[in-house]
Every structure is written in structure tokens, then in C-alpha cells.
């Protein structure tokens, strides 16, 4: 028997999948919270206050958001570093891989490559997004966010982010299933085909949801061009407070 | 020329060769396996349906033992087999299967409880006992009294070969693949290795060995329509023949398998019929019971093939684009059974015919399948003429098959013979006789001779085309030396082959590609194949009787009076037009089972006067023993064989019903 091997390859493989899974679950929840804007500015305001801890502590602590941002950043960093191991490491590997994909035109290999490509983009897009979240956690709200999207032209970043992150996440979930629990038995092919359909449905759903939200933020931001910097005051608070 | 020294050289990497190598290696001898192809690609992998061994576990096998397996095999051989060797074989077969079971073959097992089977076109419910649960099960095969073909779905040979190869790898036995033996090195009395061509770069090298074993399988490719792999060109038997000393036995005994698909000639297993499949004609009529009321579709292969051709000749064949054929119907077995136990069959039908055997009929016609003949050996697997030369498996004529082999007995023979021959070679290497002193001059001389032969082909000739001549040989054999033989056609074949042999010396290569050069390979193999073809055709012409698979329309009776013997072919003069034939008498007075009717096929045969004499002798001996003697004592009285077995293989085989 050869000598004992390091347990780390196993752990890293698991960690890569787990971090990916957490990030996907995060991004999907994120989409629901973010799209609260579709239900109105008040709803989005409540959601953002909730994440600043107001319902629990009586007043908002934007640093909580920074904390979450940093956690996500760490997760993304871990996930990216682990994933990088699997990317073509040199030009020879890159060439061989392209040759292979060009000849075989195999859907699932192409899906993986889509993850590589989107992952590479996300490597730049996510930090750009997280930087503002971490450094300006208080600037999340119906007007603050919309101003950033429109007046500060962040919609370009978000649009790219939207397309790449959902492709990455949906494909990632399908591949995660195949990696750890591939279907077997007589219906294996059918089950896999269904999983793929589910993957596309999820991808379309979140892209549509995300686009609708983004367009809403853009609309609010556009309408708010003249009063950039003003913070949103929810109707209820306005009535009670002042 | 590079010279490689080893104790044991095994030519052929199939089941027989690798088992022999493992046997020798376990006895402490260095062994090298030579193979045309990677060992796991050998033709053994194509054995589908099963391996005969009288385990007697499942219901259909209950009561089975060596005695019944022996009788089935001898009847199957049409009394052409060496009965002592058949005894050795049937005795070792259960051990072989149990050894393979321990080594990892996933044999199908008995499932206790009731299940439905198909017999004679009808569904029947049977119940397997709890006592047998989990033991190796078996399926029905042609020409057998009991269900005896142990199987792994219909990939039996594949599973066995992979397990065997893995054991050989575990034992550290090197397989030198993509290498081909061109000639045996010998001094006229003793074989001491082979001159070998590397099929990747074309270089020649010499392997010098104390013991050399030929395990290269059959020579089906001398026929146009054959179920054999395309590497089955009989080169092992051919180089033995080319020594001019070693003899080949019963080369005219060629088996045609009833169910090869049309037109590709790919085999679908006998298991199809064993599991209940039927043969139908153009009218959808099940015709076998008309000819063979006892065994029907499950008579021996020679009989079924003959009946099929007879039925086609009578105008009942299905006319198709590729000539006439009949139908194999396994639809009645049901989807579950087919997808579980006949999945290779389903795959072959899907890919090569575009049909699904669950709902469609399979077009079949008999095709060349097996060579009963091969390098004649004694009971320990050694050539009686050339010391140090051994043979095992289909390449050998150890002679358990005589003139017709039973389905499942070949794959069993490979392993059993491998066990025996591995041991024999080890004994030989250990003995004083095995010590080898050889001069490099002799090795060099053989090397130069082969180099010269290759150069002659590569540089000379007068325009003959190797591929074209090969096709002509194959056509000649399929058309004239097939299932139904006749003196006129055989004469024609002998003459045509002689002409082709002459023409084959005038081959001109169109390609001078470096390395293997496939055209050169085709050319030198053709010259050797023609000699094997001639041994077959000439042997068939001379044998003026019908026995087993050798059927002479002009001499339709089995003639024990004149032909109860084994043909021995040799080729002493390299340039001779024909082989030299000799005959080895089969002594009825030493037989445990004297000749009679097989239980299927034609009933009329010309009996030998000794038959009755021997039968009376047997009756008397058994009467003298009394009723208390067990079956071992009775057998020993008639024809002792235990002393012929390797010492470690002499124990009785335990069975479920044994009284302890």
C-alpha cells in the first residue's frame, strides 16, 4: 500500500463546493431582497433597515452590512482561489483545452467553460460591488442605491454582474448536483435532462427578476437626478416623526 | 538482434495464455506473455454465453457432476475426443470456476424463490432452493443434459479475461503486446523460443525460453464469414506447423455457429437459445423440432447449423439483401430478461442491425466459429514431437472437443488447460530435461532466415496483391470447405489453395512504409494462413466419413470402422505443395464411453467391431464392482485418469447435495 496521502485535496474539493453552494444560496436570497424595490420604495427601505439590524436593536447599524459584505468577500476569495486550481494553468493546457472543446462540442464541457469565463469576470465585478457595500454600508436605500445605479453609472457594473453571476450560479448548482449526486439507474439520463431544464428555468427567472429590479432602480435614479444625495424617508416615518 | 531470455514464453495473451503464465509464475519461473494486441483485447473477451462446469447449484443443474459433463462432451465430440483428457477437463472445470470466483469474476448467482423461465416456447415457473442461494448459477446450453454454462450476463469472456489479466498484472507478469512470433527457434528436437516482430516499429528480436507455449486461439479468418476477431489468423498453429516437426491435429474439424447475424457475421450467444429463444423460418415456423424432436434448438452446434442450412436449401430461408437467412426469436424472453442477461446481444442488434430484439426478429445464419484442431499435444499440453513446445486453448488440439465442441466448453478449456499447462511448463523447467543450452548461432540463423523472408516479400514479387489473395483464400474456404462438404468441391479447394500458395510467393508490396507496414503483415500472414487452410481442406478431402462438424455429403455416415482416429498434419518440406497427413488411432478398448448414438443428429453410423466388445467388458467390470461402489470407484475401474492430473488438482469437487 502506498503511504498515506494528504487529506487536503478532499477538503479543498469539499470546500470549493460548499463555498459555492453558500454563495449561490446567498445570491439567490440577495435577489429576492434586492427586488423588493419592485414592491415599492417602502418595501425596499424596510428590507435595508432590517439588514442594518433596526428591528432587533432599535436603531440601524450599517456596519452589520459591512460585516456581511466582508464575509461574502472572504467566501468569494476562498471559492475563487480553490477554483483557480482547476483553470488551465499554462498556455499549453489552454491550447489543448480549446482544441478539445472545438472538436468535441460537448454541451457540459461548454457549460463548465461558461463557468470559467463568468468566474473570471466575477473576479473583477464582485469586488467592485462589494467595495461600495463594505465602505458605504449606509448608502443602501431606495434613493441612495438608485442614485448610485443611475447617477454614478453603476448600472453598467450591475448589468454585467447580473448576467454573469446568475449564469455562474445556475450552472454551478447543476454541476454541483452532478458532482456529488449524479443520477443513476434506468432513469439517469431523463433525470439529468430535467435537472438541466431546471437550471435554465432558474437562470431565466433570476435574470428576469434581476433585470426588472435593475430597471426599477434606474428609473428611480433617473427621476431622482435632481436631488442626488437625498435619503429616502418612508411614508410611515414621515407621518409619525416630523 | 536483441535477445530476451526467460524461463517461460507464452505466445498469446488470452485466457489460456495468461492462466498458463500465472501458473508458471506461481511456481517461481519467470514468464513473459507475447500478444498481438493488448491482452485485455484478446478474443477471449468475445465469449458471451458461459463456461461449462458441473457445479450443480441451480435447479436446472441439480444432480450434475463430472460424469454427466464427460458424457455430454464425448457425445458432442462425436467420439473424436481423447476421453482421458475429457476426464481431466471435466474434473478441473469446477475448480477453475471457483478459482476465478475467488479472483473476482462476478458470476451470476442463484436467487432463491420462484421465477419464470421459458422452455420449449412456454413460460414455466420454477423455484430455486434457499440452500443454493448465492452460489454460482448456470444457464442451459446446447448438447448438454444439465444447465451447466456458468455466466456473467452475456459478457462472460470479458469478465473472465479482465479478472485473469488483472491477476497477471498483480503477479507482475510482463505482457509484450503488439508483438508477433514469426518462427519458433528449435534444433530439430527441442523448441527454445521464438523470433518475434515488433508490430510498432517492425524490428525483429529473439525470445529464448526453456518452455514455449502457443495460446494464440483459432484460425477462423481463413474463412470469409467468421465470428472470429480479425486477429484470429492462426499464426501460433502456423509457426508450429512451419517447424516441420510439430503436428497439428484434426484441422478439418471446424465448427460453424448457428447464430451469427447477417451480414456482419457477428456472434449472438447460444445463451439466446439456452434461455428459451427459437429459430424460425421465412413462414415464421419453428422448424427445429421437425428435425430434432429431442433437443430441438439445443442440439449440438454442428447439428443445428446443418439443419439450418438444410432448411434454407429446402427453400425456407428468408430472402434478404445479403442472401438468405433464418430468424432467431428471443422476443418471448421478455424485455427484463434481455436487458439483464442478454445485453450484449441487444447492443449488437442495436448497433449493427438497427433493431431491438425485444420486439424484432434477429436475422441469423451459421458462420465459421471455432477451430477444434490445433497444435497436437499430450495430456499435459506438450507437443509429442517437439520438446519444450506447449499449447493451450483453441490453438491446441489437447483434444477434448474431437469433431465438435459444445458451447461453453471452449472458454472452460482455456482456463483449465492454462492451469494444466502452466504446471506442466513449470515441471519441465524444473526437470533436467528442461535445462537449456543454446548457441547464439542457432538464434541468429533463425533470425536471419525470418529477416530474409521479410526482405523477399518487401523487395520482390511479380505483382500479386496480398489483400486480393487473402480474399480469394477466404472465398475458397467459405464456398468449398464449409458446413456441407463434398469430394469434388474439396478437391477444387485443395487445387485452388495450392495455386494461391504459389501466387503468394510473388506478392509485391505497394507500400514501403516504415514501422509495422500493414501490407507486409498481410503478406507474410497470408503465406502461413494458406498452409493452415490447406491442412483443413486436404484433411477434409481425405476424411471420407462424416463426424461432428465435418460433414461429407458424399459420405454422410460416421464410420467408426475406418475413421475413428485423429488426423495429424505436418509440413516437413517448407516448399511442399501439401501437408503430410498421418492418423492417430482412437482405441475403443481404452474408452470409458464407447461410440454410439449421440442422442441427437443422424442415427446411422458404421460401428467398429470393438464397440460391442468394449461394452461387454465395461458391463462385466461394473457388475464385478457391485452396487455399493460409488461413482468415483466405478469411473476409476473403467478408465483411471487421476494420475494424469497435476498433484494439487486431484481432490474431489464439493457439491451442494454431497453427503458428508
Amino acid at each position: 500500500m502506498p503511504q498515506a496521502m494528504s487529506p487536503w485535496p478532499a477538503r479543498m474539493d469539499l470546500l470549493q463546493s460548499l463555498s459555492g453552494l453558500l454563495l449561490v444560496l446567498f445570491i439567490w436570497s440577495h435577489m429576492f431582497f434586492e427586488s423588493s424595490i419592485l414592491l415599492g420604495e417602502d418595501a425596499m427601505y424596510q428590507v435595508s433597515r432590517m439588514f442594518e439590524g433596526e428591528p432587533f436593536f432599535g436603531k440601524p447599524y450599517p456596519l452589520i452590512v459591512s460585516g456581511v459584505g466582508i464575509t461574502i468577500f472572504v467566501l468569494v476569495a476562498v471559492h475563487a482561489i480553490l477554483a483557480l486550481r482547476k483553470f488551465p494553468g499554462n498556455s499549453r493546457q489552454y491550447r489543448l483545452l480549446h482544441q478539445h472543446m472545438g472538436a468535441i462540442r460537448h454541451p457540459d464541457t461548454t457549460l463548465w467553460y461558461a463557468q470559467v469565463a463568468t468566474g473570471f469576470c466575477l473576479f473583477f465585478l464582485i469586488p467592485a460591488h462589494l467595495y461600495t457595500v463594505i465602505t458605504q454600508p449606509e448608502n443602501i436605500g431606495p434613493y441612495a442605491s438608485s442614485d448610485r445605479v443611475w447617477s454614478e453609472r453603476f448600472w453598467i457594473v450591475y448589468a454585467l454582474l447580473l448576467l454573469t453571476v446568475h449564469a455562474h450560479a445556475a450552472i454551478g448548482m447543476y454541476r454541483l448536483f452532478m458532482k456529488w449526486y449524479a443520477p443513476s439507474g434506468v432513469n439517469a439520463k431523463q433525470t439529468r435532462a430535467r435537472m438541466k431544464v431546471a437550471m435554465w428555468c432558474i437562470l431565466v427567472f433570476f435574470t428576469v427578476l434581476g433585470s426588472a429590479s435593475l430597471l426599477t432602480y434606474m428609473r428611480i435614479g433617473y427621476q431622482h437626478t435632481d436631488s442626488v444625495g437625498e435619503r429616502y424617508k418612508p411614508a410611515t416615518v414621515q407621518d409619525k416623526g416630523h | 538482434m536483441q535477445i530476451i531470455y526467460t524461463d517461460v514464453l507464452v505466445i498469446g495473451g488470452g485466457l489460456a495464455g495468461q492462466r498458463a503464465a500465472i501458473g508458471a509464475r506461481r511456481r517461481g519461473h519467470e514468464a513473459i506473455v507475447l500478444s498481438l494486441v493488448p491482452a485485455k483485447r484478446s478474443h477471449s473477451a468475445a465469449a458471451q454465453g458461459g463456461m461449462q462446469a458441473s457445479l450443480g447449484n441451480c435447479l436446472g443443474a441439480s444432480g450434475d457432476n463430472e460424469d454427466i459433463h464427460f458424457a455430454d462432451t464425448v457425445r458432442g465430440s462425436d467420439w473424436g475426443a481423447d476421453q482421458q483428457v475429457v476426464r481431466m477437463f471435466t474434473h478441473i472445470a469446477p475448480k477453475a470456476i471457483r478459482e476465478l470466483s475467488a479472483w473476482g469474476v462476478p458470476w451470476n448467482r442463484v436467487q432463491q424463490g420462484t421465477r419464470d423461465i421459458t422452455i420449449n416456447g412456454q413460460k414455466q415457473r420454477i423455484e430455486e432452493s434457499a440452500a443454493a442461494h448465492g452460489l454460482i448459477t448456470a444457464r442451459n446450453f446446447g448438447g448438454t443434459e444439465k444447465w451447466r454454462a456458468c455466466y456473467v450476463s452475456d459478457g462472460t469472456g470479458h469478465a473472465m479475461l479482465y479478472t485473469m489479466s488483472n491477476q497477471a498484472i498483480a503477479a507482475g507478469i510482463p505482457v509484450h503486446d503488439r508483438r508477433e512470433a514469426l518462427a519458433l527457434i528449435h534444433d530439430g528436437e527441442r523448441c527454445c523460443g521464438a523470433i518475434v516482430r515488433n508490430l510498432q516499429n517492425g524490428e525483429l528480436l529473439a525470445y529464448v525460453a526453456k518452455a514455449t507455449c502457443i495460446a494464440t486461439g483459432g484460425f477462423g479468418r481463413i474463412y470469409r464469414v467468421s465470428t472470429n476477431a480479425i486477429i484470429n489468423e492462426g499464426m501460433g498453429a502456423a509457426i508450429a506447423l512451419e517447424t516441420g516437426i510439430a503436428q497439428l491435429g484434426n484441422m478439418e474439424a471446424v465448427q460453424f455457429h448457428p447464430t451469427a447475424i447477417v451480414p456482419a457475421g457477428i456472434l449472438v450467444t447460444e445463451g439466446c437459445r439456452g434461455d428459451g429463444g427459437l429459430l424460425l423460418d421465412s413462414a415464421g415456423h419453428r422448424f427445429m423440432p421437425d428435425y430434432e424432436p429431442n433437443k430441438m434448438e439445443l442440439a449440438s452446434r454442428d447439428v443445428v447449423s446443418r439443419r439450418m442450412e438444410q432448411h434454407i436449401a429446402a427453400g425456407h430461408g428468408v430472402k434478404g439483401r445479403f442472401g438468405e437467412h433464418l430468424w432467431l426469436d428471443i422476443r418471448l424472453l421478455g424485455k427484463t430478461h434481455i436487458e439483464r442477461n442478454l445485453r450484449e446481444v441487444k447492443e449488437i442488434c442495436h448497433y449493427f442491425l438497427g433493431i431491438d430484439p425485444v420486439s424484432d426478429l434477429i436475422p441469423v445464419r451459421p458462420a465459421q466459429h471455432y477451430s477444434m484442431g490445433g497444435v497436437r499435444t499430450d495430456h499435459r499440453g506438450q507437443s509429442p514431437q517437439l520438446r519444450g513446445l506447449f499449447a493451450a486453448g483453441e490453438a491446441a488440439c489437447w483434444d477434448i472437443h474431437g469433431f465438435n465442441r459444445l458451447g461453453g466448453n471452449s472458454v472452460a478449456e482455456t482456463v483449465v488447460a492454462g492451469m494444466v499447462v502452466g504446471d506442466s511448463m513449470a515441471d519441465y523447467c524444473d526437470s533436467a530435461e528442461g535445462a537449456l543450452q543454446i548457441s547464439t548461432t542457432l538464434i541468429e540463423a533463425f533470425g536471419r532466415r525470418e529477416q530474409q523472408r521479410l526482405a523477399t516479400i518487401a523487395n520482390g514479387g511479380s505483382g500479386e496483391n496480398a489483400f486480393e489473395l487473402t480474399r480469394l483464400m477466404q472465398d475458397t474456404m467459405t464456398e468449398n470447405v464449409g458446413i456441407f462438404r463434398h469430394g469434388d468441391k474439396l478437391k477444387h479447394a485443395v487445387d485452388t489453395l495450392a495455386t494461391l500458395q504459389q501466387r503468394a510467393t510473388n506478392i509485391t508490396l505497394r507500400s514501403s512504409a516504415r514501422g509495422a507496414n500493414p501490407e507486409l503483415v498481410a503478406a507474410y500472414r497470408l503465406q502461413r494462413m494458406l498452409k493452415l487452410a490447406q491442412c483443413t481442406a486436404y484433411g477434409a478431402l481425405q476424411r471420407t466419413e462424416s463426424r461432428g462438424a465435418h460433414y461429407r455429403a458424399d459420405y454422410p455416415q460416421r464410420n467408426d470402422g475406418q475413421w475413428l482416429n485423429r488426423t495429424l498434419a505436418s509440413w516437413p518440406e517448407a516448399d511442399a505443395r501439401l501437408p503430410t497427413l498421418g492418423y492417430e488411432k482412437l482405441d475403443i478398448m481404452a474408452m470409458e464411453l464407447p461410440p454410439g448414438w449421440r442422442g441427437y443428429g443422424d442415427k446411422d453410423h458404421i460401428a467398429h467391431p470393438d464397440t460391442d466388445l468394449r461394452q461387454r467388458e465395461i458391463n462385466a467390470a461394473l457388475a464385478e464392482l457391485g452396487d455399493n461402489a460409488d461413482r468415483y470407484q466405478r469411473q476409476r475401474t473403467l478408465m483411471p485418469f487421476n494420475h494424469l492430473l497435476p498433484a494439487h488438482l486431484r481432490g474431489h469437487n464439493e457439491r451442494l447435495g454431497d453427503k458428508t
Binding site: 478532499a10 463548465w112 | 494486441v37 448467482r109 464439493e654
Partner: protein, 249 residues
């Protein structure tokens, strides 16, 4: 894609073969195109033999059983790995490209040394039953019993014919030469399932618990999709991955 010859008569196939003879120092890889008339039930085995016999006698390729059983004839047919012997030309377009399986040592033209690769894999992974007293097995006695269902499950994995299609179809194997691929991982799954093999998951971890083994697999699924024997490779690798992670924790 069902391009069966029409009533108009047989098609003329244009078969382009990627040729190279490493034995010849002057040879460089190049495409050579052959034209031949399609016959009924023609397979690539028949087509290639016809090309060799009538047009290009030096053309190298490997066929053994020509029945899809032995695994010798894996090659890239129009870029995709498959068994040439059972590929019917009627299922292919007029223009066919044939290239040797990548990932293996090239012997010449379409012939590659899959056998050497597979033997290396077997030696590395020790693909045989490990039992301490195997040589002492008493073969006169009744065999060890096994559940019928388990025997069938083992055979399901034993059906691999080592054709190399899974390796050629695998992007990981293309990038990493030491990757044992689905062929190797399937062997581990097979012996892990077999109660006759005494090795534990910890033992198997030492064989496949790294980037050249199960953790190198990126789930590209080329193996699963191009296995000519339809082996459940993805499921086996997924299962093995789980067991190996469990063994490491």
C-alpha cells in the same frame, strides 16, 4: 441527423484521416482524404479496410473483435470519440473526419497505445482483488456465496472495455496527463463494491485521493456522455468522491 442513402443511388463518402507515422522522421501530421462509395450496412471498419486494401496500404488502424466488445478501435469520428467498428456510415454525413484518440501515445495514423495507458492505470490503482490468503483458496470447496444483486452490480461496472473514449472525451485528462480518468475511477468503484477485496476506503484514498484521482475530476461529464458501454460513470465518480471525502474527514 439521419442521412440514409436515397433511392438515387449510393453516396460517395469523403473520409479524411489525420495521418502521421512517428517511425518515419520525415512524416508530419496531415489530413488525407479518400473517396469511396458507400455500401449497405457499411461500418467504419468496412470503410477503413476498403481504403487500406484498395487505396492506401500503409494506413494504420486497430480493429480486433469488430463487434464493439474489445475496445480496440476508439477514434475521433467527426471530432467525437467512439468505437469505429460499430459506427454505421449511414448515420454520418457525406464528409467524415477520422483522427486518433487524443491523450494516448500515437503508434501511427489512427492507431494509439491505449493498452499501455490502461496497463499503467491498472498497475497504479492495483485493479485486482486484494485478499491476504488468495493463493490458499481451497478450490475443491463450494465457492463463497454472493448476493445475486451484488454480483450484477459489480458486473455493471466490470463492463468497461478500456477503449479510452472517456479519456479522450475528458477536458481534465487533456490538460493533466496524470489524471486517471473515468476508466480508472470506475475500477476503484468496482473493487470498492466487491466484498472479496479487503481494501478499505482509507486504502482507496491513498490511490485516488488527490488531483490525479477523484479530486481532479471537474465533472465535465464527457466520460458519461461518450462511454460506448453506457457505464454510469458520473454516478460512480460522484459516489466515490463522497466516500473519499468521508474517508479524509
Amino acid at each position: 441527423m439521419n442521412l440514409i442513402a436515397t433511392e438515387e443511388g449510393p453516396r460517395t463518402l469523403q473520409i479524411s484521416v489525420l495521418r502521421h507515422n512517428p517511425q518515419d522522421t520525415e512524416s508530419t501530421p496531415h489530413w488525407q482524404t479518400f473517396e469511396l462509395e458507400e455500401a449497405q450496412s457499411m461500418t467504419l471498419f468496412i470503410a477503413l479496410n476498403e481504403i487500406r486494401q484498395t487505396m492506401e496500404p500503409s494506413l494504420q488502424f486497430d480493429f480486433v473483435c469488430r463487434a464493439g466488445i474489445c475496445g480496440s478501435c476508439g477514434m475521433l469520428v467527426n471530432g467525437r470519440p467512439g468505437l469505429a467498428c460499430r459506427t454505421l456510415t449511414r448515420n454520418l454525413p457525406d464528409k467524415i473526419t477520422l483522427a486518433p484518440l487524443p491523450g494516448f501515445e500515437l503508434i501511427g495514423d489512427l492507431s494509439v497505445n491505449t493498452g499501455k495507458w490502461m496497463r499503467g492505470m491498472s498497475e497504479h490503482l492495483e485493479t485486482w482483488i486484494h485478499q491476504h490468503n488468495l493463493e490458499q483458496t481451497d478450490i475443491d470447496r463450494l465457492e463463497e456465496r454472493m448476493e445475486p444483486e451484488l454480483a450484477e452490480k459489480i458486473y455493471e461496472l466490470e463492463r468497461c472495455i478500456e477503449c479510452g473514449c472517456c479519456i479522450a472525451a475528458c477536458g481534465t485528462a487533456r490538460m493533466r496527463e496524470d489524471f486517471i480518468g473515468a476508466a480508472g475511477l470506475n475500477q476503484i468503484a468496482r473493487f470498492r463494491l466487491d466484498p472479496r477485496d479487503e481494501r478499505t476506503d482509507a486504502d482507496f484514498y491513498t490511490l485516488v485521493g488527490d488531483e490525479s484521482g477523484v479530486f481532479g475530476c471537474m465533472t465535465l461529464l464527457g466520460c458519461e456522455d461518450y462511454c460506448p458501454k453506457d457505464l454510469p460513470l458520473a454516478a460512480q465518480i460522484a459516489f466515490l468522491r463522497g466516500r473519499m471525502v468521508a474517508a479524509s474527514l
